[in-house]
C-alpha cells in the first residue's frame, strides 16, 4: 500500500527554471491560465447532480472510509483521546468487521508517538500537522524543529501549512523555499502541503499556491487546516485537481489531493469522489492519491453503510463517538 512514493523530484527543463529566482517564479505563476469563478462553480454544480445509487454508493462509501485521515486537532487532545481515535481508525464499526480501516490518523506532532503505538501492526498511517499549525506564524527554525520532532516520533506523513502572509506579499519564492526545507526534514515521510485556501480567497491564488507546492516537492496538496472558514469546497478542490492534472502532464509526476474540513456527510463525500473521478480518473481513486481530512464524516458514512446493509436508516447511537 505504500505507493505514496514519487522519485526524487526532477522537473523537465521548462519547469526546472520556474523557481530559479523570485522573478522567475512570479513570472511562471502569472503565466498560468486564469480560473473563471462562475465556470468552476458551474462545473461542480453540474457534477454535483450525479446520482450515486446502489452499487456505486456502496463502493463509494467503502472507498471514502479508506480515504479518511481521521483527525483530531484540539488543544485539549489527550493520550486517551488519541487512543480511542486509533481504535476507531482500525475498526470504524465495531459491529461490522468488513468495514475497512481508514487511511490515517491525523494529530498534532507531540502526539505522534502515542498514535504510532496504538496503530502498530496496522497499515494505518500517522499524519502529523506541523510547522506551527494552523497559522504557521513561527520562525522557519521552529517549523523545521516541529517537523523533525514529528518525523523522529515516526510520523509517516507531515501536513505542513504554507505562509499565507508571504503569499499575499508576493514572496512566492519564500514559500517555495520553506516547503523545500521542510521536505528535506521530512526524509521519507510524505509531505502534504496545506494551502489554507480560505485565506487565499481567489481560485487564481489557489491555483498558484498549488503550483508552488507541487514545484517545491509536495507529495500531496491539501486545501485547509479546518481552522479557517471556508475550509474545503468542491470548486476549490476542482481547481487543485486540475492543477494536479496539469502538473502530471508536464512532469509525469502524480500528486495526491486532500480536501479537509467541512466534509461531513456521505452525500458530500460522494460529490468529491465524482469530481475526482471525472477530473483525474481511476488512477487517483485510492487512498494513496486522495484523502479526506475529516472526523465526523466517518460516522455518517458508517450510518449510510448500515442503512444500505439493513435497509433501515441508522442513528447516532449506532455508531461510536470516538
Amino acid at each position: 500500500m505504500n505507493v505514496l512514493k514519487n522519485d526524487p523530484l526532477v522537473l523537465p527543463p521548462l519547469l526546472s527554471d520556474a523557481a530559479n529566482s523570485e522573478s522567475a517564479l512570479k513570472k511562471f505563476l502569472n503565466g498560468l491560465a486564469g480560473v473563471d469563478k462562475v465556470g468552476v462553480e458551474e462545473r461542480v454544480a453540474k457534477l454535483g447532480t450525479r446520482s450515486i445509487k446502489t452499487t456505486a454508493k456502496a463502493e463509494g462509501i467503502d472507498l471514502a472510509i479508506r480515504m479518511i485521515d481521521l483527525t483530531t486537532l484540539e488543544g485539549m487532545d489527550t493520550k486517551g483521546k488519541i487512543k480511542t481515535l486509533c481504535a476507531k481508525a482500525r475498526r470504524p464499526d465495531p459491529q461490522d468487521p468488513n468495514v475497512p480501516s481508514v487511511a490515517a490518523v491525523c494529530v498534532y506532532s507531540d502526539l505522534v508517538s502515542i498514535a504510532k503505538e496504538n496503530l502498530s501492526g496496522t497499515t494505518i498511517k500517522v499524519a502529523a500537522v506541523a510547522t506551527g499549525f494552523p497559522a504557521g506564524r513561527v520562525s522557519l527554525a521552529a517549523k523545521l524543529q516541529d517537523t523533525s520532532d514529528a518525523v523522529s516520533q515516526g510520523a509517516d506523513e507531515i501536513d505542513m501549512v504554507i505562509d499565507r502572509g508571504a503569499f499575499h506579499e508576493g514572496r512566492f519564492l519564500d514559500i517555495y523555499d520553506q516547503i523545500q526545507s521542510i521536505k528535506q526534514v521530512c526524509k521519507s515521510a510524505h509531505l502534504k502541503v496545506i494551502l489554507e485556501t480560505g485565506e487565499l480567497k481567489t481560485y487564481d491564488n489557489v491555483k498558484k499556491a498549488s503550483w508552488i507546492a507541487m514545484l517545491a516537492g509536495a507529495d500531496f496538496i491539501k486545501t485547509s487546516t479546518g481552522k479557517v472558514q471556508p475550509a474545503a469546497t468542491l470548486p476549490v478542490t476542482l481547481v487543485m485537481l486540475q492543477a494536479i492534472r496539469d502538473f502530471e502532464m508536464a512532469t509525469h509526476r502524480r500528486i495526491g489531493m486532500k480536501p479537509a474540513g467541512g466534509i461531513k456527510t456521505t452525500k458530500d463525500a460522494m460529490k468529491y469522489l465524482v469530481v475526482l473521478k471525472e477530473t483525474l480518473g481511476d488512477k487517483w481513486m485510492n487512498p494513496d492519491m486522495f484523502r479526506f481530512g475529516a472526523s465526523s464524516l466517518l460516522n455518517d458514512l458508517l450510518m449510510q453503510r448500515q442503512k444500505m446493509k439493513n435497509g433501515a436508516y441508522s442513528g447516532p447511537d449506532y455508531v461510536t463517538v470516538d
Binding site: A33, G34, V35, D36, V38, G39, V40, E42, R43, K46, T49, R50, S51, I52, K53, T54, T55, A56, K57, E59, G60, L63, Q242, M249, L273, K277, E278, D282, M285, N286
Partner: protein, 478 residues
C-alpha cells in the same frame, strides 16, 4: 473501473400518457375535422408514445377562428388580469415540473438532467417574467398605450419543445395577443400537456390553441389570411420560405433561424473553463441548438494543448438513456436528423478533415451519434459552413484577433458567438466586432427570460426575451 455509476433512471410513472391526443382548440381537446394521424415516438427507444393528429386546413381554420374570437375579450382584459393568468401558468409549470421534464426527455431524447435543470425551470421563468410585463406595456418601448397585434401563429422546433413554446406564448399573451401554436412534428407531447395546464389555469377559451402536425400544417398556419403575426423558430431554409410567403401581407414576422457560431479561444483563456464551455457549447442537447458553438476557433499557439484537454474531457461524457440522471448526451431526435448528421460528417471526412469521436457505447435501439470533433477543417469545408445540428464540432485555428473575427464573421449566419480570454478589453472589442446577436464571453449557451435572443443576417430577425421580445408582439398606440 473504480466507482462506476450504477444506472439511475428517472421514473416515468409520473407521466400519464394517453394513446391518442386531440387538437386543443377553443379551450377544449377536439377531434380533427379531417386530418390524419401519425405516431410520435421516443427517439431513444423507437417506442411509440402516442398517436397525434396531423391538423388539416379546416382544423387550422377552426383554431384561428377560435383565437380571433378570444382576441376580442383577451386584448381588452386588463393587463393585471392577463398577468395573473400567466403567473398561474408559471406556478403550475413549477408544480408539474418533474412530469414535464420526464415527458420532454421521453419525446425529445434530451438528458433528464437538462430537461429537469435547464428547460423546464426556464419555461416557468419565462412565464413568470412576462406575467409581470402584462400591466406595464407602456414601458415596452413603443410609447403610451401600445396595442396587441391580434392573432399570432407560432411554429416551434423540436430541440427545446416546451422552452420554445414559452418563448412564443408568454410574450404574446402578456401583450394581449391570442395564439395558435404548432409544436414540431416529432415533439408534440409537452405542448399538449401545456394545453392541460392552460385548462388548469382556467385560461379563457381560445387564448391558446395548439394544433399538431408537420410542415403542411405549418404552411396552412403561415398562409392563413387571419393571422396578424408569425413567429417561427427553426431552420433558415424554412424561415426563408415563410419570409417569402408573407411578402405583400401585413403580417409581422419574427424568425429565429439557424446558426454556425464560432467559439473563439485565445491563448490567455481560463483553459479549463474554456474547455467546459466548448463542451457545453456543442454537446449540450446533442448539439441540437441553433446557437451551438459548432465552430471552435483556436489560437494556433495553444491548439494542441487545448485539444488534448478537450479530448480528455470528452472521454468522460456519458451517452445513453436520456432518463438516466447521469446521462450527459442523449438521443438524436429523429432518424432523419441522424441521417443528416451522418451525411455531413461523411462529407467532413471526404473533404479531408480528421474525425475523432468520444469512445461511447452506442445503444442498440434509437438514434445516437457520439460526440465528435473534426480537426484540419478549413472554412471551405461543408462542416465549417452548414449547420449540422448535432454533436459535431469543427476546429479551425487563427493567429491574430483580426483573423479570428474575420473567420467568425465569414458565414451567412449571425446568431451567436463565444469568446474566451482573460483580457477585458479584448472581450469587449471582439464582442463589438462579431456580427452576431448573442455573444457569450467566458461562458456559453446561457439563456434567461430577461435576455434578448436572436440573430443577425440569415439567422433571422426580431428578438425574443426581455423588453425586446415583448415589442415583437405590440404595435404603437393610436
Amino acid at each position: 473501473m473504480v466507482f462506476e455509476y450504477a444506472p439511475a433512471p428517472e421514473s416515468t410513472k409520473i407521466v400519464n400518457l394517453k394513446s391518442n391526443y386531440d387538437l386543443f382548440i377553443g379551450g377544449k381537446f377536439v377531434k380533427s375535422k379531417s386530418g390524419s394521424n401519425y405516431k410520435t415516438i421516443n427517439p431513444a427507444t423507437e417506442e411509440v408514445l402516442a398517436e397525434i393528429i396531423e391538423a388539416s386546413q379546416k382544423d387550422v381554420d377552426e383554431a384561428v377562428k377560435s383565437a380571433r374570437k378570444a382576441f376580442k375579450s383577451w386584448s381588452k382584459l386588463s393587463g393585471s388580469e392577463r398577468g395573473k393568468y400567466l403567473y398561474r401558468i408559471a406556478r403550475i409549470i413549477q408544480e408539474r415540473s418533474r412530469e414535464l421534464a420526464v415527458l420532454e426527455s421521453m419525446n425529445n431524447g434530451k438528458p433528464i438532467r437538462e430537461s429537469r435543470d435547464i428547460d423546464i425551470p426556464l419555461v416557468a421563468a419565462h412565464f413568470f417574467h412576462y406575467a409581470g410585463w402584462a400591466d406595464k406595456l407602456d414601458y415596452a418601448g413603443l410609447g403610451k398605450n401600445p396595442q396587441a397585434l391580434g392573432v399570432a401563429g407560432q411554429i416551434i422546433p423540436w430541440n427545446f419543445p416546451l422552452l420554445m413554446l414559452s418563448w412564443k406564448i408568454a410574450p404574446a399573451l402578456a401583450a394581449g395577443n391570442t395564439v395558435v401554436l404548432k409544436p414540431a412534428e416529432t415533439t408534440p407531447l409537452t405542448a399538449l400537456l401545456f394545453a392541460e395546464i392552460c385548462q388548469q389555469a382556467e385560461l379563457p377559451d381560445g387564448v391558446v390553441n395548439i394544433i399538431t402536425g408537420a410542415g403542411q400544417t405549418g404552411q396552412y398556419l403561415v398562409n392563413h389570411s387571419d393571422i396578424d403575426k408569425l413567429a417561427f423558430t427553426g431552420s433558415t431554409e424554412v424561415g426563408r420560405l415563410i419570409a417569402q410567403s408573407v411578402s405583400g401581407t401585413n403580417k409581422k414576422v419574427t424568425l429565429e433561424l439557424g446558426g454556425k457560431a464560432a467559439n473563439i479561444v485565445f491563448d490567455d483563456a481560463a483553459m479549463d473553463q474554456a474547455v467546459e464551455g466548448v463542451v457545453n457549447g456543442i454537446f449540450f442537447n446533442q448539439g441540437h441548438v441553433c446557437c451551438a458553438g459548432s465552430r471552435l476557433l483556436l489560437q494556433e499557439s495553444i491548439s494542441d494543448d487545448f485539444l488534448n484537454l478537450l479530448y480528455e474531457r470528452m472521454k468522460t461524457l456519458r451517452l445513453g438513456d436520456p432518463l438516466d440522471k447521469n446521462t450527459d448526451v442523449g438521443a438524436i431526435n429523429s432518424a432523419s436528423q441522424l441521417a443528416k448528421i451522418k451525411e455531413l460528417s461523411e462529407s467532413g471526412k471526404s473533404e479531408g478533415a480528421q474525425m475523432w469521436s468520444a469512445p461511447c457505447e452506442i445503444p442498440n435501439k434509437g438514434f445516437w451519434f457520439a460526440p465528435t470533433v473534426f480537426t484540419n477543417v478549413s472554412l471551405s469545408h461543408r462542416i465549417a459552413r452548414e449547420e449540422i445540428f448535432g454533436p459535431v464540432l469543427s476546429v479551425l485555428t487563427f493567429r491574430t484577433p483580426d483573423e479570428a473575427i474575420e473567420k467568425a464573421n465569414n458565414t451567412p449566419f449571425g446568431l451567436s458567438a463565444g469568446i474566451w480570454t482573460e483580457k477585458g478589453s479584448r472581450i469587449l472589442e471582439v464582442a463589438h466586432k462579431l456580427r452576431a446577436g448573442v455573444i457569450w464571453a467566458n461562458t456559453f449557451n446561457k439563456f434567461d427570460p430577461t435576455s434578448p435572443f436572436g440573430g443577425y443576417k440569415e439567422s433571422g430577425y426580431g428578438r425574443e426575451g426581455g423588453r425586446h421580445g415583448l415589442e415583437a408582439y405590440l404595435k404603437a398606440g393610436k
